[in-house]
């Protein structure tokens, strides 16, 4: 057995069935070993960025580790954006990066780049493997690191000689490292938190991506119901409480809903679970939940008091944390002190609804999302690119289940969605997977259509084709007096022809009335299928908190409803 075979065997032992990658000189021994076995499937992407985003989509749809491969030098540097993205969204992936033979390290050999050092700030941990015998224990440790505590990416740099040398002795003991040690949520704090929530007059709950990762959607929803408490979700938490649940207020923050931002701004107790309170969520930090005692539950104690001060910080995995809270809440006598608040929020929620079934041509982005809500089956996995279409989707799409909405949140990486969809399809072949994208992002990764076709991972793409970087256009309009530069894309390429040239099917949609059937067809399709939906590039339907502005001072798009300010009578 050589190093490459040991590497594959170690991954197989961890249950890995799928890898995404591209070969090159330094990793050819690994590819050769892959060719000699059939337990682990290799999905051949067309760009390493595609491989890493596919690994992310695979991990986020299934919860299982996503693995990607890039050769030394440019192959590995092409992985870097996705590793950074996975770090921001706490995604459990392992990046296998080739390296020149160890005797050439530091000699500026062909395709020698210090990718180990490059990825250090972007990973939970990075390994440098220079001996074949290291693989079993390094791989075992890497899986443990990627998947325990707050998950995240792990990079393994492997010299070519480590991949080819024989493994004389098999030792797969985990390396002695400072691994995450699970701890039970502190019972006193849980009791106090439950009491605070029960006694609150204006309680709110907030779920972050940690709730998704912990598979704690059911517990989160049950707690909201037990408390009769409204809940906001960040964009990595979409679906942890069904989007159409009467207690779900949906998105908060920069592109959030007005009611949600107002409710957070006026609540007196805020239970926040698995969120790092990113700037996109909080807006100007001083005006974020200024009246609230914040109960912060997180698996990563370094998040406490980082962005938002916690009145009560509970270090725990979201699932046991929520379970324990629920147990205490159910056991308590409740006096229901928040009835008046609930009525007010409900009233505000009613005010905060706009007509998203609009009939204009070119089609309005919110109409597309409206039709997706109506016509996608409940088990459809939605991925997105990055831009306005993404914000329309996060704002208006009603996810009903966790892990069914996959978007590049913390990093905002254009080109994430299509390869992530391919990865999600590899993990969940029975479910329809659709990338809600736009042409600016899609053109950055359109080569992955070849992957979808040749690897038989038929995903659909709903291209909100508006001819612009619409979100950049909006910012240039609002903050730079409409001096548009480098934001108009024009109408190239022809997306129907492009998709067809890759061997997929495509349909151009120009009228709102055609959307329903087109979406149904996309969801059913067993081949790569692209809907080229010609949409309006305006920002009319989307509220926006200017950067570092206060969440309650949203700039409203033309067709946004006006929600009463200071409705709650709290200053």
């Amino acid at each position: 057995m050589n190093g490459s075979q040991a590497l594959i065997e170690s991954m197989r032992a961890q249950g890995q069935k799928t890898l995404f990658g591209i070969p090159g000189g330094a990793v050819l021994p690994l590819y050769d070993a892959l060719s000699q076995q059939s337990d682990v499937r290799h999905v051949f992407t067309r760009h390493e960025q595609g491989a890493v985003h596919a690994a992310q989509g695979f991990a986020r749809a299934s919860g299982q580790t996503g693995v990607c491969i890039g050769t030394s030098g440019p192959g590995a540097t092409n992985l870097v954006t996705g590793i950074a993205d996975a770090y921001m969204d706490s995604t459990n992936i392992i990046a296998l990066m080739g390296q020149v033979p160890s005797q050439l390290l530091g000699k500026d050999a062909f395709q020698e780049t210090d990718v180990f050092s490059m990825t250090l700030p972007l990973t939970k941990h990075s390994f440098k493997v220079m001996q074949a015998s290291q693989f079993p224990s390094v791989v075992k440790s890497a899986y443990r690191i990627a998947n325990t505590g707050r998950p995240g990416p792990v990079a393994i740099e492997m010299t070519k000689d480590a991949l080819t040398a024989p493994v004389t002795e098999w030792g797969d003991r985990e390396l002695a490292l400072n691994y995450y040690v699970p701890s039970e949520p502190n019972q006193d704090k849980i009791r106090q938190a439950a009491l605070m929530l029960l006694e609150a007059e204006r309680p709110m709950m907030l779920a972050g991506g940690g709730v998704t990762i912990a598979n704690a959607g059911a517990e989160f929803t049950a707690l909201a119901e037990a408390l009769m408490c409204f809940a906001a979700t960040t964009i990595t938490a979409k679906g942890v409480i069904p989007g159409d649940h009467p207690l779900c207020l949906g998105q908060l923050g920069m592109h959030g809903r007005q009611v949600t931002n107002h409710a957070i701004a006026n609540c007196d107790v805020l239970l926040a679970v698995g969120t790092r309170f990113s700037d996109r969520i909080t807006g100007r930090i001083e005006s974020f939940a200024p009246h609230a005692k914040v109960i912060h539950v997180d698996i990563d104690p370094s998040e406490f008091n980082k962005n938002v001060d916690a009145f009560l910080a509970i270090a725990a995995d979201a699932k046991p944390g929520l379970k324990e809270l629920l147990r205490h809440v159910l056991a308590a006598q409740r006096s229901d002190r928040s009835k008046a608040w609930r009525e007010k929020v409900k009233e505000l929620d009613r005010q905060c609804s706009c007509d998203i079934a609009r009939d204009e041509v070119p089609i309005r982005a919110e109409r597309v999302i409206h039709e997706l809500n109506r016509h996608l089956p409940e088990n459809a996995i939605v991925c997105t690119e990055v831009g306005h279409h993404q914000m329309y989707a996060t704002h208006f799409f009603k996810s009903r289940k966790p892990r069914h909405f996959i978007t590049s949140a913390g990093a905002g990486t254009m080109g994430f969605g299509l390869p992530a969809a391919i990865g999600a399809k590899a993990a969940k072949p029975e479910q329809p997977v659709i990338d809600v994208g736009s042409e600016g992002s899609l053109v950055m990764v359109c080569q992955e259509m070849a992957t979808a076709v040749t690897e038989k991972l038929p995903v659909s793409v709903c291209n909100l084709n508006n001819g612009w970087y619409a979100i950049v256009k909006q910012w240039q309009k609002l903050f730079y007096d409409g001096r548009y530069i480098a934001s108009k894309l024009g109408d190239v390429p022809d997306w129907v022809k492009l998709t067809e040239s890759f061997g997929g099917r495509a349909l151009r949609v120009t009228r709102p009335s055609e959307l329903g059937d087109a979406i149904k067809e996309a969801a059913r399709s067993e081949e790569l299928f692209l809907l080229d939906v010609i949409t309006d590039s305006s920002d009319a339907g989307m509220p926006l908190v200017p950067p570092l502005g206060s969440n309650t001072e949203m700039a409203l798009g033309q067709s946004c409803p006006t929600v009463e300010r200071n409705y709650f009578g709290v200053r």
Binding site: F116, A176, L177, S302, N305
Partner: protein, 80 residues
């Protein structure tokens, strides 16, 4: 981890042990450079792959110091 407060109110020294694995030094210094902080003193003493003592001094407010400590506690190379 042991914290030593120097004369200056905002000067902190952290003393801890790590396993001297590849990249550990970069990881430690990266915690500071990423946040735009300067290290004012650095001590690193150990064997390849073995137990290593680290002392770092830096200027920061209390909130940042606490945040830095939490980051160091997360290092996989830390020997608690």
């Amino acid at each position: 981890m042991q914290t030593v407060q120097l004369e200056s109110r905002r000067m902190h020294t952290l003393v801890f042990h790590v396993q001297n694995n590849h990249g550990v030094l970069q990881r430690i210094t990266g915690i500071f450079s990423r946040r735009g902080l300067y290290l004012t003193q650095f001590y690193f003493n150990g064997r390849p792959n073995g137990l290593t003592e680290v002392q770092v001094s830096f200027e920061a407010d209390e909130r940042m110091r606490e945040h830095i400590e939490r980051q160091i506690e997360k290092l996989l190379d830390l020997v608690p």
